[in-house]
Symmetry: C2
Subunit: 361 residues, 2 copies
């Protein structure tokens, strides 16, 4: 009876399998069964024609292709996911796309994943706390792997992710556990390097504008900076807290330079903060950069190399980081266990005009 009914239904569908019906029923997609009927072959042959692997006679192939064309048939990937337990879906979790560093990296990821035959499921997490909201989605769509491109990912957040038993690659945050591997840039060493540069350029007193208090990257950069300053016999830096945004850098610089200690070198946890600080210095405090204050950032966002900015900063080897991440994801997606050792990519110091008058355009 069911077969009967189906035959009738599809008899009608033959002519127009994806149109409105009198009753309002709407058959959106033709299935391989529909195509098979129109082509006069078995459903298996349709499947084989489209999967390409098996061999199908030329005549059958032609019939199938014609029917498929007529019916606008597109094979669905959904059933395949059920069979193979692989969705070919990779989740990328992002926080602040306002930071050009992350949007650039995201774009790079998309391009690379697409090239590798994976699709990207994009998720947004405003803060670590909201992680719980997206966890269910991640599992429900059976994503093969998760890339966390969050500026902030706490160990607790990482633990939550690990419960999913889906491989997680933490991009730019050095957290690790059984299911979480990290790919991040060298932060501590960068802090040390910039301290040396500042001193070489003649600075005597130092400042630091941090990211959010919960950012491990910001903390590491600061630690390296402070350690090296200590080693070189300089006093500890004055510290103000920013939020990784332009406005935060602007405000932090304003308050820092309204205080008693006015550093003559300022390291900021990222470029947006640094640009905000420079603007506060130049436009509001009428201080000259680099003549009165040296400034450096981290990320090498496009604006850092604008002629009007010329910001000394660190270029994380984003290409290498993306490469590493992709290869980890691909092997994880192939079922191989995660290599648990964290990957650390070095960041290269780029000196521009904000620490060197000779480099001003």
């Amino acid at each position: 009876m069911t077969a009967e009914k189906k035959a009738a239904t599809l008899g009608a569908a033959d002519a127009s399998p994806d149109q409105d019906w009198p009753g309002g029923t709407f058959k959106k997609y033709a299935s391989s069964v529909d195509v098979a009927r129109v082509a006069g072959v078995s459903q298996s042959q349709v499947s084989r024609t489209f999967s390409g692997s098996s061999k199908v006679s030329e005549s059958t192939r032609k019939k199938v292709l014609e029917a498929a064309e007529r019916l606008d048939y597109r094979p669905s990937l959904i059933p395949r996911i059920m069979l193979t337990h692989k969705s070919n879906l990779v989740a990328i979790v992002v926080g602040g796309l306002y930071n050009p560093f992350y949007s650039t990296v995201l774009e790079e990821f998309m391009i690379r994943f697409q090239a590798a035959g994976h699709q990207v499921l994009l998720l947004h997490i405003p803060n670590d706390h909201a992680l719980d909201d997206v966890i269910p989605k991640l599992a429900s769509y059976r994503v093969d792997a998760i890339v966390s491109a969050l500026a902030i990912l706490s160990p607790a957040g990482a633990a939550t992710l690990a419960k999913l038993k889906i491989p997680v690659i933490a991009f730019n945050t050095a957290v690790n556990n059984e299911w979480v591997t990290s790919v991040s840039s060298e932060n501590f060493e960068a802090g040390r390097q910039i301290a040396d540069l500042f001193i070489a350029r003649g600075a005597r007193s130092f400042g630091f504008i941090s990211g959010p208090s919960t950012s491990p990257a910001s903390a590491r950069r600061r630690e390296g900076y402070e350690e090296r300053l200590r080693e070189r016999g300089a006093g500890p830096p004055t510290v103000a807290r920013g939020d990784y945004r332009y406005e935060g850098g602007f405000a932090a610089a304003l308050s820092m330079f309204s205080g008693p200690s006015r550093p003559d070198a300022l390291f900021c946890a990222n470029d947006l903060l640094a640009i905000g600080a420079i603007d506060a210095l130049r436009e509001r405090l009428v201080l000259r950069v680099p003549d009165d204050v040296l400034v450096a950032g981290f990320d090498d966002i496009p604006a850092a190399s604008w002629a009007s900015v010329g910001l000394t900063t660190f270029t994380p080897d984003a290409a290498a980081m993306v490469d590493e991440t992709i290869s980890i994801v691909l092997s994880a997606a192939n079922g191989k266990p995660l290599a648990t050792k964290p990957v650390v990519v070095s960041a290269k110091l780029i000196e521009r005009g904000t620490t060197n008058r000779d480099l001003r355009s």
Copy 2:
């Protein structure tokens, strides 16, 4: 026999349904059947417990939840897609995330779609030509709708998309057809407004730096600008072609001001171009902005309001555009036909220091 075998398999799985097996077999996710067995109830009851709608006795419910917890069970959405023909997946197709305008909009979309219970499948298209590569993916994952946030979408590209018979919303590009609706900002009128502003600020000769030649938005902005200049009795603007990027604006300004005609007002098709042009003017040509040249852009990206930039520009009402897009997508996802009339949202002129000395910080 099959049942026999399955029982055996799952007998083992009971204890550890998602662990490595001696043979290397790996059962990643527990299914509702597994949970049912452990809980000692039928699979239907598990389904009912998790769908929430039907009524399940408290005792059954508790047994199911306990078993699910033990097995780390997460219902899969995949079968549901097969049943309902709705994936709850919305594809967002992006091109240049290097433009902060688009990355900001993308972030807004993600937040809104997630709140509405949809997931975002992100696709990248470097150029209109590459559209064909992603079309199959779009159909294969049975996305409910497609949002095209491409800076450039040709009518031909739109036609290609339409063949999918999936509702498409073209964001910021005014192309339309049976399956493609557009939500874009008012471009022509903006061009007219900026012409008036330039004239009011005393400009006599005019320039325009365009986006890529294929960008309809750029073309419309230019048309409005030229029309109004003509109406006001000014000569036609000198035109140079950029590419929507900082570097393009920089180079275009350089070449334009090396030529015979040096405009004293310059309208750029977007903010990145404008900022590049300003830097070329100030840093390389030693011209003052706004004293020697007035400059305006379009998009109101964050950098436009930086103290060091202070760019006069147009704010597209991005929130309203996203709102409109979301509501179209949601109704389309509910099976309603597309309302085919294009939506146009006005953009608001924001005057800052690059056209007005009094507004310099």
